[in-house]
């Protein structure tokens, strides 16, 4: 049944929209921009900030455009005298409770409240500054996220993000009236609570109240230190989004320019996390097949389905919420940490640098990676395997600091070794990508043939849906894997922890059975990560995903096991997947954490 069309006028221009559309969306159709703060396209409607107020003819009070559905014959004014005066007042009131020390703020220049201030609140403030009177906490305890209550305007985007997208609810609204604030359980420090460090709240905070903990100065110090040899790795999803903050059109891949910029910044070697993504596939693919063999042939009890373990937000989520499923996690470290472990062992040896002189930096779309590199499990080289993690946003800032004109850079290539990669690795950045990469390799190991999909594109695992599932029938196996003959490999993919929770609960309750499950903590996968450029929306994430698959299509090598450098590392150093060295450097186990 089609929806009814509602006719109304906005600023005297007639428009027809579907029943249930909000005034905000109807105005968008006519290209009238109504300012918003608490509204976010990924979240439910809150309607608490009041900056989107509009005048509806015949109504005494103004209406919040984000929370008011259109009705027949409505006459809306988005920019009347009353509306503008009211918005100015709202912004002034928000400012009276906001630490507006903008020049010292990390979000200076990229702050929605600041932008609104320049639009609406020019001149002297008319309300008393109340910031001093609040009991506000600056929480720097987390290695990933800094929370500064003095900058919070209580729009509650973070609370809705944590609950609706991530099903974590580490943050909640506490107290009431002028004491209301966004808080953890009993005001505990962020590093003590169930926070997964995913940084989705950071992506959506309209002010500087939630930002990533930045390590820009530490990285500059390492670069300037003549005694240090600084290597940098870049995650797959970074290349699909870095340009957004540097004047490049949304959805354009900037791999070559990024490499050039990193070299200009002074990193000694520019290497690729994609290399260890390929390595991950070798290890994780083998691990999956080994588990299946144990289950089907040896009849051992082995934890299935196997869950991917690349996403550190997901890892911490399992530790807190589903500790009984820790054994189901692949023992593979994430590509970042595999890289770190190899850099200070195999690579340091190969290029003749003492590991203690090496500083290992990684550029990630992710705030949880900052936490991950601090984990005690991640020191298998004998040193801290990855020293500093900076996000896509921090790299963009460093490039600006260095005065590099990013758009004019000529593309350059990654250094070798640990710089070569395949199309299978770059798609790690999108939801479904790890699964697709694993299937391209595992299917070939088992059958000796390529996966039966046109151009290697495993379309059923692609797309933005929160939960996807597929099944692949294994036929005509090579003798070593004949026990898999005729087996239907069942797989599932989830992105966003709320979806992950649903999927794990379905598995737990016996409503679904799978062999292999890919989980990425952030909506859309790493391209939607907590360290990616702000803003984010479904549309932006879609564009980034398209860029990722475009990169894959354009690669000469598209399967992880074809990566010549991966083959070389196995020959020279690691031996074989799941071998003794791999076990020491590339695999780990996690421990349960308190949920409450």
């Amino acid at each position: 049944m089609g929806k009814y069309l509602v006719n109304l006028k906005i600023n005297n221009i007639p428009v027809s929209v579907e029943e249930g559309t909000t005034i905000l969306d109807a105005a968008k159709n006519l290209n009238f921009k109504i300012p918003t703060l608490c509204y976010h396209s990924d979240l439910s409607i809150a309607g608490n900030c009041r900056v989107c107020v509009v005048e509806v003819k015949g109504q005494r009070v103004l209406s919040a455009a984000c929370a008011t559905p259109v009705s027949e014959g409505m006459d809306v004014f988005t920019n009347s005298e009353k509306v503008r005066a009211s918005r100015k007042n709202v912004v002034e009131l928000l400012l009276s409770e906001h630490n507006a020390d903008c020049t010292k703020c990390y979000k200076n220049g990229n702050c929605e409240l600041q932008e609104m201030t320049s639009e609406y609140s020019v001149g002297n403030h008319i309300y008393l500054d109340l910031v001093k009177d609040k009991d506000k906490i600056l929480d720097i305890s987390s290695p990933s996220i800094v929370k500064d209550d003095s900058k919070c305007i209580r729009c509650q985007r973070c609370v809705r993000t944590c609950e609706e997208l991530q099903a974590v609810s580490a943050l909640a609204v506490v107290n009431k009236g002028d004491h209301q604030k966004i808080s953890t359980f009993l005001n505990k420090p962020m590093h003590e609570v169930v926070c997964t460090n995913c940084g989705q709240c950071v992506n959506r905070c309209p002010t500087g109240a939630l930002v990533e903990k930045n390590y820009i100065d530490e990285v500059w110090n390492a670069i300037y230190d003549p005694d240090k040899f600084v290597v940098v790795q870049t995650a797959p999803a970074v290349r699909a989004a870095l340009g957004e903050g540097l004047g490049v059109e949304l959805g354009q891949r900037v791999t070559g320019k990024m490499v050039a910029a990193l070299k200009k910044l002074g990193f000694n070697k520019v290497l690729d996390t994609d290399f260890t993504a390929d390595l991950t596939i070798m290890e994780e693919g083998t691990e999956l097949l080994t588990r299946l063999k144990k289950a089907l042939v040896d009849k051992e009890s082995v934890a299935l389905p196997m869950f991917t373990s690349c996403s550190p937000g997901w890892i911490k989520f399992v530790e807190h919420i589903f500790p009984e499923y820790l054994a189901n996690l692949s023992t593979c470290k994430s590509p970042q940490q595999m890289f770190g472990a190899l850099a200070k062992t195999y690579y340091a040896d190969k290029i003749n640098i003492k590991p203690e002189k090496m500083v290992s930096v990684s550029v990630m779309p992710c705030t949880a990676k900052k936490y991950e590199c601090d984990r005690p499990e991640m020191r298998s080289s004998g040193y801290k395997d990855v020293d500093y993690v900076i996000t896509t946003r921090e790299l963009a800032r460093m490039i600006k600091q260095a005065g590099i004109e990013f758009n004019k850079l000529e593309s350059e290539r990654y250094d070798s070794i640990l710089g070569e990669s395949t199309g299978a690795a770059v798609i790690f950045g999108a939801t479904g990508g790890v699964m697709e990469a694993a299937l391209r390799t595992a299917y070939e190991i088992v059958t000796g043939r390529e996966v039966p999909f046109t151009n290697l594109d495993i379309k059923p695992v692609r797309g933005m849906e929160g939960i996807k599932e597929a099944a692949i029938k294994i036929k005509d196996t090579v003798p070593a894997w004949s026990f898999l003959e005729g087996v239907e490999l069942k797989i599932a993919i989830a992105s966003g922890l709320a979806n992950a929770k649903k999927l794990v609960e379905a598995i737990r309750d016996g409503k679904a059975t799978y062999h292999f499950v890919e989980i990425m903590a952030c909506p859309g996968g790493c391209i939607g990560g907590g360290g990616q450029p702000i803003p984010t929306s479904a549309e932006i994430r879609k564009k980034r995903i398209e860029a990722i698959y475009e990169e894959d299509t354009n690669m000469t090598l598209r399967k992880s096991h074809d990566n010549p450098e991966v083959q070389e590392v196995y020959k020279e150093f690691l031996g074989s997947p799941l071998g003794h060295k791999s076990h020491d450097l590339l695999h780990t186990h996690y421990k349960p954490r308190k949920r409450y």
Partner: protein, 179 residues
């Protein structure tokens, strides 16, 4: 209907007390309350109230137990509890005295009333006596403006309370507690 619910609740809690379990075992208390009120989110309020009724406040352990039983996050439980003045999240005495601080009671002498209570109990507003018998708090309008100043002790309202009358009233609570 509400009344019946309360009766059931009280009955069940008494039974629970007789079961030999100590009431300090807040986890069992929460489990018992969840049995009565159900496991859905709607039961958060009555469970919080039930715990406060028995324990006088919501301890960290209590909130963690509630979160676990109702499958909510602890921050969520704390957020709800902190919204309501009558759901305390810090330890309180056996008897909670709340003096109305709103304008009518103010004009009818709530300051003198508070002063008398502070002197008698040797505590300031917001504090609890050393023997954990009394906590002295102020409250927003209790709806007794025509008979101010008023104070509330636990669930009992005391209208038109002079400083002298207040002392006699708390005396009564003191003796009843000692028995």
């Amino acid at each position: 209907m509400t009344k019946i619910k309360h009766l059931i609740q009280n009955f069940s809690l008494q039974k629970f007390k007789k079961g030999g379990q100590k009431m300090s075992n807040v986890e069992n208390l929460v489990k018992e309350l969840v049995k009565i009120h159900g496991k859905n989110r709607n039961s958060l309020m009555p469970v919080l109230q039930g715990v406060v009724k028995e324990e006088k406040y919501l301890s960290e352990d209590a909130m963690m137990a509630i979160a676990k039983e109702l499958d909510l996050s602890t921050a969520d439980v704390y957020g709800t509890a902190s919204f309501y003045t009558f759901l305390d999240t810090v330890p309180r005495g056996k008897n909670i005295i709340r003096v109305c601080k709103t304008i009518t009671c103010h004009m009818k002498g709530k300051d003198e009333l508070i002063k008398a209570l502070e002197d008698a109990l040797k505590i300031k507003v917001g504090e609890t006596t050393h023997d954990k018998q009394f906590t002295l708090l102020t409250a927003n309008c209790l709806g007794w403006c025509h008979k101010g100043p008023v104070m509330l002790i636990n669930d009992e309202i005391y209208p038109e309370t002079s400083p002298q009358a207040a002392l006699e009233i708390i005396e009564k609570y003191q003796t009843s507690t000692k028995k």
